[in-house]
């Protein structure tokens, strides 16, 4: 295959790749190799994107070869292949995989291999989608910039000195830098949608319970949700259908399937749909360029025949506070299992008696980073006797109020709309010493997690003042994820007409880095850290 072909292959969407694979115009091995070459070219080294913590070269090529052989042989087996068979994908390193390490971005799990696959990973394997590797994240998905990863930050492909969002910055950057056509993320307070916004990609947080959480290392179990990270709305719908559906291994898994998401993405009209602007989620505190691009999208939807209405969600002002009580409370409990006994790191105290309690204390001190410690302490505080009612109890009541705001808003609007994040990507290091400023990134994404409703972020253009991507967030009632794909796909196509192509066509090429062997690259990256 020529170099030009390889460059073209990585720019195709998953839907386009699937079509060409089915028509046998290209092979899966070519597609996987093109992405491995791209990873080798742009991911490693001092100024590399650093989206990947592990590259799964051998297995990905083996799965690709298997798909190619089935297609070449034809017959029933070829007919039965999943639509996305042979299309490669990257997986956030919070999701466990047999045969590859899972670190959760933490030193405490360095070198650990899961003895089981997450349900979503099993479904990728059933669909014969080659897994390219595991992507970087803030430690245990705690952060909005990937700067809290124990393995160094991921860089934003639009500007290598800026953050790619978080916690799923690795998945978003991998997709934005054409290192993978698809990726999986997890979203507890915006960890799929905010990275999507700042990297010019699409990210979806499905309805709580519509995608199994089995095998996603839990941060806050009542908020966590696995979802798609892609470059197009249709690709997210395709991936959502692969990973979604009931799973008996997750007791919060919804028993009934969602409406046809791919059909919704292909519907192509929004005429008569009521789209609600959330009064509290734009304006003051939002960057001017973000606001401008948000208004552009509203205008396009209006022109397409949607009715734009305004809704008020007054209790959203308490959502961030409630989130920063509920999330650490659940996290402090979920992370108690990392105690140096069953898996991962064990650190012995330097002196004094060698008791299990002291080993736990030393292990967790050495294995956890600052942000994880902060949240564990905060959660332990919010759950302690005497404070429980005032903190955790009150936060759970706010959760009810946020749900009521959504219920009221969805009586007058079919879909809600807001900017995904208040600003474009900030500089690496800019907010690292100010946890509260970091938390404010998630102000527009958190309400959906508290209420369990689905949300989608898609690129809305570039901000005038800095030329960086702006995200537009769509929200729908629980179980109505199809509406997000319907409106999202229409808005995306209108915006692409305006831009003359996908937004990512305007991103820097990153092609300057020399091509190196991926295995050598990973060793280099590790040594650099």
């Amino acid at each position: 295959m020529t170099e030009t072909n390889s460059t073209q292959l990585i720019r195709l969407s998953a839907a386009q790749l699937a079509e060409k694979l089915a028509a046998r115009e290209i092979t899966s091995v070519e597609v996987v190799q093109a992405h491995l070459d791209r990873i080798a070219a742009v991911d490693g080294g001092e100024r590399g994107v650093n989206a990947f913590l592990h590259v799964n070269t051998e297995e990905a090529l083996a799965v690709a070869a298997e798909v190619d052989a089935i297609r070449a042989a034809g017959g029933a087996a070829a007919e039965e292949l999943h639509e996305l068979a042979g299309v490669p994908i990257a997986v956030k390193d919070l999701i466990v995989t047999i045969g590859q390490p899972t670190t959760a971005g933490s030193k405490i799990l360095e070198g650990w291999h899961s003895p089981y696959d997450a349900t979503v990973v099993k479904r990728l394997r059933d669909a014969k989608m080659p897994i390219l590797g595991k992507t970087n994240l803030d430690e245990f998905a705690m952060g909005s910039s990937t700067e809290h990863s124990a393995y160094g930050p991921t860089r934003n492909p639009w500007d290598l000195d800026r953050i790619p969002g978080g916690s799923g910055g690795g998945s978003a950057a991998a997709v934005a830098a054409f290192e993978a056509p698809l990726a999986l993320g997890t979203d507890t307070g915006g960890s799929i949608r905010q990275p999507g916004a700042v990297t010019g990609t699409v990210g979806v947080k499905p309805t709580y319970g519509s995608v199994s959480r089995y095998g996603a290392i839990a941060m806050a179990s009542s908020l966590d949700q696995i979802g798609p990270v892609t470059r197009t709305v249709l690709d997210s719908a395709l991936l959502h259908e692969v990973i979604g559906g009931h799973d008996p291994f997750d007791s919060t898994s919804l028993p009934d399937p969602l409406e046809d998401l791919v059909a919704a993405a292909r519907l192509g009209n929004v005429e008569g749909m009521r789209i609600g602007i959330i009064k509290e989620l734009h304006g003051e505190g939002y960057q001017a360029g973000v606001e401008n691009r948000f208004n552009d999208s509203l205008e396009l939807l209006r022109q397409a025949g949607a009715e734009i209405v305004e809704v008020s969600c007054p209790n959203f002002q308490y959502a961030l506070g409630a989130y920063y009580l509920i999330m650490p409370s659940e996290a402090s409990s979920n992370l108690a299992k990392f105690d140096g006994v069953r898996y991962g790191l064990r650190v012995l105290p330097e002196d004094g008696p060698m008791t299990i309690e002291r080993v736990m204390g030393a292990t967790r001190a050495a294995g956890f980073g600052d942000e994880v410690k902060r949240r564990i302490i905060l959660g332990t505080y919010a759950l302690s006797a005497g404070y429980y009612d005032a903190y955790y109890g009150s936060a759970q009541k706010v959760r009810t109020l946020v749900q009521r705001d959504f219920d009221a808003a969805f009586t007058v609007a079919d879909v809600l709309i807001s900017p995904t994040a208040p600003t474009t990507a900030f500089k690496l290091g800019e907010k690292l010493d100010d946890p509260l400023a970091m938390y404010l990134n998630d102000v527009a994404t958190i309400p959906a997690n508290l209420a369990g409703v689905p949300g989608l972020s898609l690129p809305g253009g570039l901000a005038d003042e800095d030329g960086l991507p702006v995200g537009i967030q769509l929200l729908a009632p629980a179980r109505q994820d199809a509406r997000l794909y319907r409106v999202g796909a229409v808005l995306e196509s209108l915006l692409e007409v305006k831009w003359g192509g996908p937004l990512l066509a305007q991103a820097p090429s990153l092609a300057a880095s020399p091509v190196v062997d991926p295995a050598a690259m990973l060793v280099d990256a590790k040594e650099a850290k």
Partner: protein, 98 residues
Amino acid sequence: MAAINRDDVAHLARLAHIEMSAEELDRMAGELAVIVESVKSVSEAAGDDVPATSHPIPLSNVFREDVVGHTFTADQALSGAPDSDENRFKVPAILDEA
């Protein structure tokens, strides 16, 4: 609600089994005080008549058939353990008199 101070953080760190240096306790106390202050308004947001929500989409009575399902072998379960002995996790002394 009371502000959070250095002694509180030291106590909480003990409860959470995280050893902290004096410098870490000082820094953490300062950062947590700011965060706790910022979430204070939550306690005034809802009246007594508002019920608590613990789960966004409640499902009740999620049961499965009472049959043996997927289980790990001892080797699988111990595969990531820092230390093991005769099919068991091996830990240091669990009592102080070690």
